[in-house]
């Protein structure tokens, strides 16, 4: 699936800027995702992590800076069907709310077939649908179900299957497990780890949850007010944070002997 040699960056982002009126949402953001790697972007609301993700997938446009996938620039506007499909095969996205990101009228199998027809006309779609459902841990029976007949975890599996159907180089997961219950969240996180090991797809994981970052990413980027304040290997950043904001984020995660009073004071001081 990957045409990129191991170790080289499959996704390169550099100098990304985006303003909405007077507000600078993203300010000179850059990072690179190695082929088959998993990179987390952590931050609170207003940190610019979601805007960055939307620019990477092409739902928003940057004022300045570049996004390159497998060496191909994808910052300019796209023209024509072939270019549009090629873009889609570079980056796919899994959204936070699996119910709202699926068309409520369309069954699971039909949704997958629609994507397959678009990208791979003339192939055996029935077999591929079974394969995809199997890959995300859904039975073949799920193919006939409508989104509202599925649980939250099952819907998110469908959304993952739909992203995989395109056979992309990178999948952007925007708070993709935030809406799920803990026990279901663990299932989906394990599934994502398995898929990455099998296919070598790169993940860009947008999340506010440091526990999730620890669990599924190799590299992490910490954003605040549109800027990157710290980045590095996940284990290092979480064990030995350099920036005061990263330390604050880590201490804010509730644990035994947690002192919310002190965190509140630290937040005001920052």
């Amino acid at each position: 699936m990957s045409e990129t040699p191991a170790g080289a960056a499959v996704l390169e982002v550099s100098g990304l800027c985006r303003s909405f009126g007077p507000v600078t949402a993203v300010d000179r953001v850059g990072f690179s995702l190695p082929a088959g790697g998993s990179l987390g972007i952590v931050g609170e609301s207003g940190s610019g992590k979601t805007t960055t993700a939307r620019i990477v997938v092409g739902l928003d446009r940057a004022d300045a800076g570049t996004v390159t996938v497998r060496g191909r620039e994808r910052t300019a506007a796209v023209r024509g069907r072939a270019a549009r499909l090629a873009r889609a095969r570079e980056v796919q996205m899994v959204f936070q709310d699996p119910y709202l990101s699926l068309d409520p009228r369309i069954g699971v199998g039909a949704a997958l077939r629609e994507t397959l027809r678009l990208h791979f006309p003339g192939r055996d779609h029935e077999g591929r649908v079974r394969e995809l459902l199997d890959q995300v841990g859904l039975g073949t029976r799920a193919a006939d179900a409508l989104p509202r007949q599925l649980s939250g975890g099952q819907r998110q599996r469908v959304a993952i299957a739909r992203a995989l159907a395109v056979e992309p180089a990178v999948v952007v997961l925007d708070e993709a497990v935030a809406a799920l219950d803990v026990s279901v969240q663990a299932q989906v996180l394990n599934l994502l780890a398995d898929i990455r090991a099998e296919t070598g797809i790169g993940y860009l994981f947008i999340t506010h949850d440091l526990g999730v970052v620890r669990c599924v990413t190799d590299q992490v980027v910490v954003m605040r007010s549109g800027r990157i304040v710290e980045s590095g290997p996940t284990a290092t950043v979480l064990a030995d944070p350099r920036h005061a904001y990263t330390r604050l984020l880590l201490e804010s995660v509730p644990h035994r002997g947690w002192d919310p009073e002190r965190i509140a004071a630290a937040r005001r001081a920052l």
Binding site: G211, R214, L250, P254, R256
Partner: protein
């Protein structure tokens, strides 16, 4: 007198095969912080709402729900109005949904106590100013509209509004889920300070085990409408005696754990449309045997710890397996 005393609360909805709440026992002492932990559909929100006399339309309830000594189940409208405006108050997950965007924050704060005649205008204004100060906001927000303040600030306003009637019981339903982690710490610190200052009993409903461990004196874990386990926070997280509690702890991604696979709980919680015989967790439990599938376990105390109750036939087999939070 306990702030909240729920005994054997059983709630049935039309067109379901089993009760949505099945014999729930729960107490919140005066000035105590109690966490109610569960996944969606476990019945934790229904339980907390029952304390305000709020039940889904068409439901039937058995058992007893007492708030500061007053029975709520089957109480008349006058009792319920007094309860909701004075004795008990609730803080919801989304402060934006809990406030009227077209009304000034000042009016929002004083509305309830003025309508019920609990306080007069001057006393209500004094109380609002005092509470705003207690939640760390200055009086200038009184003239602003909800749209003009941040989510964290608005949640403080909602907390202040909840305390206007000086309630004995504060119900907080996922009050920090919609907030950022650093804001969450502030709101929790605030709730904790107010609880101490006013001696309010606090029932904190959450899906976050880590948060429950960090803030509460006692924890109840709910699963499929039943209390699976209850214990002082430290005991519950150090020595969980219910396989569900242990599995939930193991499935939570943590920053101090090594990267890699989580111990996920396979399967789904039981469907409301299916009848339940035996233990509701049996289908997903590694310890389940024939007895678990036929006989529902009653809550039993742990040896030497009368306040650590577990509804599991095999609680003893989990002794020694420790999970640290």
């Amino acid at each position: 007198m306990n702030a909240l005393d729920i005994r054997g609360l059983t709630l049935r909805l039309p067109a379901t095969a089993r009760p949505v709440l099945d014999g729930v026992d729960l107490t919140v002492g005066a000035g105590e912080t109690v966490a109610l932990v569960g996944e969606s559909g476990s019945g934790k929100t229904l339980t907390s709402r029952s304390a305000l006399g709020l039940r889904p339309a068409g439901s039937t309830a058995d058992g007893s729900v007492r708030v500061a000594g007053t029975e709520v189940l089957g109480a008349g409208p006058a009792v319920l109005r007094a309860l909701r405006s004075r004795t008990a108050a609730m803080i919801y997950q989304d402060p934006r949904a809990a406030t009227n965007p077209l009304r000034r924050i000042g009016d929002f704060l004083t509305e309830s106590v003025l309508l019920t005649g609990a306080l007069d205008r001057a006393a209500a204004d004094r109380r609002a100013a005092e509470l705003l100060d207690a939640v760390g906001l200055d009086a200038s927000v009184l003239d602003r509209y909800p749209g003009q303040v941040s989510g964290g600030m608005l949640q403080r306003v909602v907390i202040a509004a909840a305390l206007m009637g000086d309630p004995a019981l504060l119900l907080a339903d996922e009050p920090t889920t919609a907030l950022d982690v650093t804001t969450q710490a502030e709101v929790v610190a605030l709730l904790d300070g107010l609880r101490r200052r006013y001696g309010t009993g606090l029932l904190f409903v959450t899906h976050d085990l880590g948060l429950a461990a960090a803030i509460s004196d006692r924890v109840y874990v709910m699963y499929a409408g039943r209390i699976a386990e209850t214990a002082p926070a430290a005991a519950l997280f150090d020595r969980p005696r219910h396989p569900y509690t242990a599995a939930l702890l193991a499935a939570t991604p943590r920053i101090d754990a090594p990267a890699g696979r989580l111990a996920a709980i396979e399967g789904q919680p039981p469907d409301l449309r299916a009848e339940l015989t035996g233990c509701p967790f049996a289908a997903r439990c590694p310890l389940a045997d024939d007895r678990c599938r036929t006989e529902a376990p009653r809550p039993r105390p742990a040896p030497g710890a009368a306040d650590h109750l577990t509804a599991c036939h095999h609680a003893e087999r989990l002794e020694g397996s420790a999970a640290n939070v």
